[in-house]
């Protein structure tokens, strides 16, 4: 089990979350801010099986738009190892 923490821009959230949920990923959104212009951003926590990490990252890559400002990133992703995963 892995956890993807993805920081994306607010305007991409709808497209990314629909695509991820459509591909049966589970997504938790945390509203956040930050980055260079301290704009609104969305932090997504996505718990995934190890073999689906690549697919998840590809979906995020495909559904984020390219920002007008070349200094801005479309997304920042951290993949963490999850020792234990339980759903109740």
């Amino acid at each position: 089990m892995k956890m993807i923490i993805a920081i994306i821009r607010d305007q991409d959230y709808d497209a990314v979350s629909h695509a991820l949920i459509g591909a049966s990923f589970r997504v938790t959104r945390i509203a956040s801010s930050g980055g260079f212009l301290r704009r609104g951003s969305s932090t997504l926590m996505i718990g995934v099986a190890e073999e689906k990490v690549d697919e998840g990252i590809q979906i995020i890559r495909d559904h984020t738009t390219i920002p007008d400002d070349p200094g801005l990133k479309r997304a920042t992703l951290f993949v963490l190892d999850v020792k234990d995963f339980t759903q109740i």
Partner: protein
Amino acid sequence: MFHSPAEFYSALEDPAEGSKKNTSTDALQSSRQADAGSRLGAIRYLLGVVIQLQDLRRATRALENLGLTVTHLPSTGAFLGRRSVTLLIGLPDGMQAAVIDVIHETCHQRVEYISTPLEGAPMPIPLSTPITVGGATLFTLQIERYEEF
């Protein structure tokens, strides 16, 4: 303390700079920070830092001066359930000490007074009780993989 998202975001702004701030200087600053960021090594750790709202501005500025990108999450917690801010920071190797120094300098523990009712009194007489709040809590998580695009 703040009661709406707008207040939270306005707390991020420096009141002294408020009037002269405009997007062009922001953009300039952002490109400078981008340059600083690209000089750093590969991101190896994810740092979660929980700090008090009062310390946010100073801490963010100091961390950005190190060339790090900081994401804020509004949060609450601890003994009094106060508002706090959780910062997410991608950290390259060898920068842990510098970041801990910066957090140590900018996030102070402070003594505040809360009113508690005096026990045994016939009427609720408020008594001020000193409590220690603040400081910072850091979690460093190992990253298996880091991507930005």
